[in-house]
């Protein structure tokens, strides 16, 4: 490079995330990337030649582009949906194995910079694969049998999947400090990547054989949904990974809580758009129930957080009392998670109600939408906040908190399947068929289907109401303590500022 061009290039690299520079250097010098790169390219070339040879021998060269594209996509997908995310996992795992994790977190790099550095390094590798396979894909288009829109959509979706999977890999490797646990996670993640690879080939085949789907609203909807889900999950796992690289006194919860609120808003927007597009009123509440299902695990984590604020978080709360109060639901702590849950619930109710307005409504639609959202949230509240609320009176250690999380997760299927077993023993047919008040799916089905079993539904809803009240009562102490702690910290900040 000439001296004139070298200086700006050097200045540019100085600004690039240091982890990206280091990891790209390591990857290009390491065996893993070189072996995988040449292996993928070799297999792709060989398979491409076989496709062309097969088409030439059968004189079927009219639409050879489609099989050629699918073979190339399968090879590229192995690289960007399996090798690259797996290398992101290995790179994060190596920080533990090589004892560099502590050195990294002690540097001036923030947790987000560490995660984005690792993500960008994975994406740089992915871009190398994309640029290598680019000419083959263009060649496939020139061979006829596949259109440009299908190729473009598949490439965009594969990139989104690569981003999401790489972030999942980084987060999983950052979660397991113990080598054995990392080994187990590696095996599970590897298996999931192989399945994703298979799924991506299937989806590509499906799209390539019926490209008109992409011109239908349903097809476009599926693509947009896929992109949203991939990027949301990627963002979620990215925040989890960043939390793992942060100091224990850092606030690791607020980012996730804001993301969860964003999901409820996004569900409202989705509901409104779908309702306007297709007219079905089920979209108004369905999107909110779908979003709440995605939030179940997050709620469990929030509800089992240590109830007290960390000293760092407390020291940095705003001095203004009103502002501090507004922040209560998004601040860390199990008690404050209950407030967050209530905010989610109100947001979901409002979102469903607003979404309904984007289409023609019948009498009873608004009530049904509210009832469906309320029923799902009610069950989620009881199943998650009741056991964790009871546990909050006795649990103090992190290990015990993990135990509560696992136990609460187990309670959910037990509550649904348990009565079925009892029904089997006692000969109660409804229970055997999972038609019992502890099953939220049955209750929601009854609500939507205008109650075929009115007595059963009344019993279930009464029980649910009691359960919600009991859960609120059990959590009331920590909810109030959560608010009190925030107000006290805000007051202390005001006093400090006045002294200063």
């Amino acid at each position: 490079m000439s001296g004139l061009a070298a200086a700006p290039a050097r200045r540019l690299t100085e600004r690039v995330n240091p982890i990206l520079v280091k990891e790209v250097r390591q990857a290009l010098r390491g065996r893993y990337f070189r072996v995988m790169f040449w292996l993928t390219l070799g297999v792709a070339t060989l398979a491409g030649l076989l496709v062309v040879a097969d088409a030439a021998s059968s004189q079927d060269v009219e639409e050879i582009g489609q099989p050629f594209f699918l073979v190339m996509f399968a090879c590229m997908s192995a690289a960007v949906h399996a090798f690259v995310p797996f290398s992101a996992f290995l790179s994060t795992s190596a920080e533990w194995d090589e004892n560099t994790h502590d050195l990294l977190v002690l540097s001036n790099l923030g947790p987000r910079q560490i995660v984005t550095g690792k993500l960008f390094s994975a994406l740089t590798q992915a871009l190398l694969y994309y640029s290598t396979f680019g000419p083959f894909l263009v060649f496939a288009f020139l061979l006829n049998g596949i259109d440009l829109l299908t190729i473009s959509v598949l490439l965009v979706c594969s990139l989104a999947a690569c981003v999401g999977l790489s972030l999942v890999g980084i987060a999983l490797a950052s979660l397991a400090r113990v080598k054995a646990a990392r080994g187990l996670l590696m095996a599970m993640f590897g298996a999931a990547l192989v399945m994703t690879w298979g799924g991506s080939i299937g989806a590509a085949g499906e799209l390539a054989s019926s490209p008109q789907d992409l011109r239908d609203p349903e097809g476009q909807l599926a693509v947009v949904f896929f992109l949203t889900a991939a990027l949301f999950l990627g963002g979620l796992f990215g925040i989890i990974a960043a939390a793992r690289f942060a100091h224990e006194e850092e606030n690791r919860s607020t980012g996730l809580r804001l993301l969860s609120l964003g999901l409820v808003v996004l569900a409202g927007a989705w509901g409104a758009w779908l309702r306007a597009q297709f007219g079905d009123e089920e979209f108004a509440w369905g999107t909110q129930v779908g979003a709440a299902s995605m939030l179940l695990l997050l709620w469990l984590f929030f509800l089992t957080e240590r109830d007290t604020l960390g000293r760092r978080t407390a020291a940095h709360l705003p001095a203004r009392r009103g502002l501090a109060l507004c922040l209560v639901p998004i601040l860390p702590g199990g008690g404050r998670a209950v407030w967050l849950f209530l905010v989610h619930f109100l947001g979901a109710l409002l979102g469903a109600r607003v979404a309904l307005e984007f289409g023609a409504t019948k009498p009873g639609d608004a009530l049904e939408a509210s009832a469906m959202v309320a029923a799902f949230y009610g069950y989620a509240f009881v199943y998650l906040a009741l056991p964790t609320g009871i546990a909050s009176f006795v649990v103090r250690s992190e290990r015990a908190r993990v135990f509560v999380r696992v136990t609460t997760l187990v309670l959910f299927p037990v509550a649904i399947l348990g009565p079925a077993l009892v029904g089997l023993l006692l000969g109660i047919e409804d229970w055997m068929k999972l038609r019992h008040p502890l099953n939220p799916i049955w209750v929601m089905d009854e609500l939507e289907g205008s109650a075929r079993d009115q007595a059963g539904l009344t019993l279930a809803l009464s029980g649910l109401m009691l359960g919600v009240l009991l859960t609120l009562a059990l959590n009331a102490k920590r909810m109030l303590a959560g608010v009190g702690e925030v107000l006290a910290a805000s007051r202390a900040r005001r006093a400090r500022e006045q002294r200063a």
């Binding site: 190596a94 004892n99 502590d102 020291a315």
Partner: protein
Amino acid sequence: MTSLEVRGITKRFGALTAVDEVAFQVAPGEICGFIGPNGAGKTTTMRICATLELPDHGDVLVDGVSVLEEPRLARARIGFMPDAYGAYANTTVLEYLDFFARAYHLAGAQKRQTIERVVAFTTLDSMLEKEIAALSKGMKQRLCLAKTLLHDPGVLILDEPAAGLDPRARVELRELVRALAEMGKAILLSSHILSELAEMCSTVVVIERGKLRGAGAVGDVVRSVTPRTRFFLRALAGPEAAERTLLERPHVLEVRRERDGVSFELEGGPQEQAELLAALVGAGLRPTEFSTRETDLEDAFLSLTEGRLQ
């Protein structure tokens, strides 16, 4: 001003109290030796000071900055060298230092000059293009120290930096640590080589089973555990006979059998010493050596600790 102030920190792992109300200070330019048996809580304490562990109680101030309330600010003032040395695969010495210099937000000429400075200080000049995997243990320790110094921290926390080094590398490391103290850095250093610590450190902190057993200037700590003079006796009659006789004498305490003689403490002054010597001769022990023994850090450590593991 105190550079490092540990304020009554406690850390529990389940039922085990790894660190129990430990408090001490390290001033600028001071080398503080941190000693204790294996499992005493040294590494946990150091990791709390370095913001890598959270104490259940107490706090650590680095140049007045709390590691709990402002961990990022504290980290900028701390250089931590862990006992488990960390290196990246497929990376040269220069690339390693370049990476960490960037990670400390150094860029351009400042980055280059900083790397040159730490490389010159740790005499790694000839190793820059070498892969880290090819370095000797001593060189790796130097590299880790160079990395620790990149952001010019005021407080250095070095966990077993001399472990596994050959005698020459240990001497060189000692010189580097002394030079750093002369630059005004506060250094907390743990080691099992007590003779070396005694030579290098101005203060010492002794910890056992999570509890502080002693802290202060090396001389003060040694004197605090052995206020009486210790003597050594070698006699032709043999150590058994010498021990038997000594145990029967007044003013004699803490009799210990050694390889070729007996050591003991004696209450009193020259009068008591003369009387004892006469009594030993009179008892037919035929002494060949009767001398005072200098108490060192090792003796103090053994006196302060019980040697029990947690």
